[in-house]
């Protein structure tokens, strides 16, 4: 009896691993995945059961998934039907499946100790104060910015500032640089970003080296990024807030431990490994000290020499 029980457990376990393996393989082998064989392609084919013909159609571009990005994303271990209805397995999909409520982020991440450090609940509170929520209400879900299919926690893991900035800004640009998506949420045309920011010197450089949220959120000490996104009327527009020894960026972009560690590698290394530079912020203590020493040496030289000139004429 005991033996039987054991064998059954092994069977269950192997089934579990087999299934896990299947999922991982299936994202990479999209052609053999029940959903992705259609949803990762520009077009799809099916057998029309009424006419009996083979039909080929274009896939709705918003429903095409990037399988490479999915297999790198934080939710890669889930299969499509873990969140979507299993009834999507048949085609044509039933119309009423669209009405089915999907799980929200908080349904899984809320109140869970293992996700406590991400502070999902506090983020939700912040979102409710944001310009996005004011315009679109509850419909402005997390996934509007953080794609549930492909999201990667770049800011927490990468030590390359430019990668973090690029990844983050693409989230904003996916709507703010897209006429249709922007208009759906806001109800009006999207302002031209280059024009709106024309007061900002070296615009391109700024956009590559800092995130939109650096100016467009309030800094909250307890969160990595405050999710209270501010519209242009409340956004930061003062250079010295960042371009100063006490830069705001230290409380936002450079708040992440992974970036802090990079700065702690030693003073010379820090000077040399800087992948970015900001006037007023990235001062090298070594060079600063050297400049003070030279300055005061010259000044004392001048003073001593003039004293000699006065008294030893």
């Amino acid at each position: 009896m005991k033996m039987k029980y054991c064998l059954f457990s092994v069977f269950l376990l192997s089934l579990f691993f087999f299934q896990e393996n299947l999922k991982a393989q299936s994202y990479q082998n999209a052609q053999h995945h029940a959903c992705l064989k259609c949803h990762s392609n520009q077009s799809y084919s099916f057998q029309n059961s009424v006419t009996g013909n083979e039909v080929k159609r274009l896939m709705n571009p918003y429903y095409i998934l990037d399988t490479v990005a999915i297999s790198a994303g934080v939710h890669k271990q889930f299969d499509c039907t873990d969140c979507h209805s299993s009834e999507y397995g048949s085609y044509p999909h039933q119309a009423n499946l669209k009405l089915e409520p999907l799980s929200t982020c908080l349904d899984c991440h809320g109140g869970d100790a293992s996700f406590a450090k991400y502070k999902f609940e506090q983020i939700q509170e912040e979102v409710k104060k944001s310009v996005h929520y004011k315009v679109y209400g509850e419909n402005f879900s997390c996934t509007k910015c953080h794609s549930q299919h492909t999201y990667v926690a770049t800011a927490r893991n990468s030590d390359n500032v430019l990668d973090i900035v690029d990844y983050n800004n693409k989230m904003c640009l996916s709507c703010h640089n897209d006429m249709k998506k922007y208009k759906m949420v806001s109800g009006h045309d999207n302002p031209k970003l280059v024009q709106v920011h024309d007061w900002l010197p070296n615009q391109e450089l700024h956009f590559r080296h800092v995130r939109c949220v650096e100016c467009h959120t309030e800094v909250v000490d307890s969160l990595m990024v405050s999710h209270n996104i501010l519209g242009k009327d409340h956004a930061l527009k003062k250079c010295a807030e960042c371009h100063s020894a006490n830069s705001r960026l230290k409380a936002s972009l450079y708040k992440y431990e992974n970036l802090q560690k990079r700065l702690e590698k030693g003073s010379i290394h820090t000077v040399l490994s800087n992948s970015s530079y900001m006037i007023g912020t990235h001062q090298s203590p070594m060079l600063k000290l050297l400049s003070f020493v030279i300055f005061f040496a010259v000044l004392s030289g001048v003073i001593i020499h003039s004293l000699f000139r006065i008294f030893k004429k």
């Binding site: 010197p201 070296n202 391109e204 450089l205 003062k238 250079c239 010295a240 371009h243 100063s244 020894a245 006490n246 040399l272 490994s273 800087n274 992948s275 970015s276 530079y277 006037i279 007023g280 990235h282 001062q283 090298s284 060079l287 400049s291 030279i294 300055f295 010259v298 000044l299 001048v302 020499h305 003039s306 000699f308 000139r309 030893k312 004429k313």
Partner: protein
Amino acid sequence: MGTTEKIYFYPVWLRVWHGINALGIIILIITGISMQSSSESPVIGFNLAVNMHNIAGVVVFLGYLVFFIGNMVTKNGKYYLIKIKGFFKNPIKQGIYYSWGMFHGEKYPFPLSEKRKFNPLQKYFYVLVMYMAVPVVIVTGIALLFPEIILDEVYGISGVFMTAILHSAMGFFISIFLIIHLYVASIGKSPVENFRSIITGWHHV
């Protein structure tokens, strides 16, 4: 003063350039320090400092072209030529005069004349500043004005960072030069004599 010999050392173009350059450099130093050490409530706002620095930088750059071309086409350029003979000996001699000789009644080792406008030590400093520091500060300054032209990375180090460090280091060197320049200028027949010369053009030997 009637018996002293006068040499017309500083032609009008040179004096005009020197005046504009002096004003420009002073603005650049003040605004440069202000930007580099900006705090929450800077004396000059960051925006204003950046704009003033950019404008003064362009003015100094244009002025430098005047200085450079002027030295090419007029005889003023030859005062900056350094000879191999006495390459080390002459400036050391001048240095000893400044630190010892002038307090012990020694004679000025390199009297100024139509042929010699600068003493050897002075000449070395002027050449270093005008033909090394200022060109480097101008080139890096133009690069920082158009940062998109700077290489992103040079051997793993940010190009902008390297350019900025070079720019501020040279700017600092020029600031130090300015202090020494102003002080040494006060060593003349009277402390204001040399300052008068750069305005009138005439140097009393």
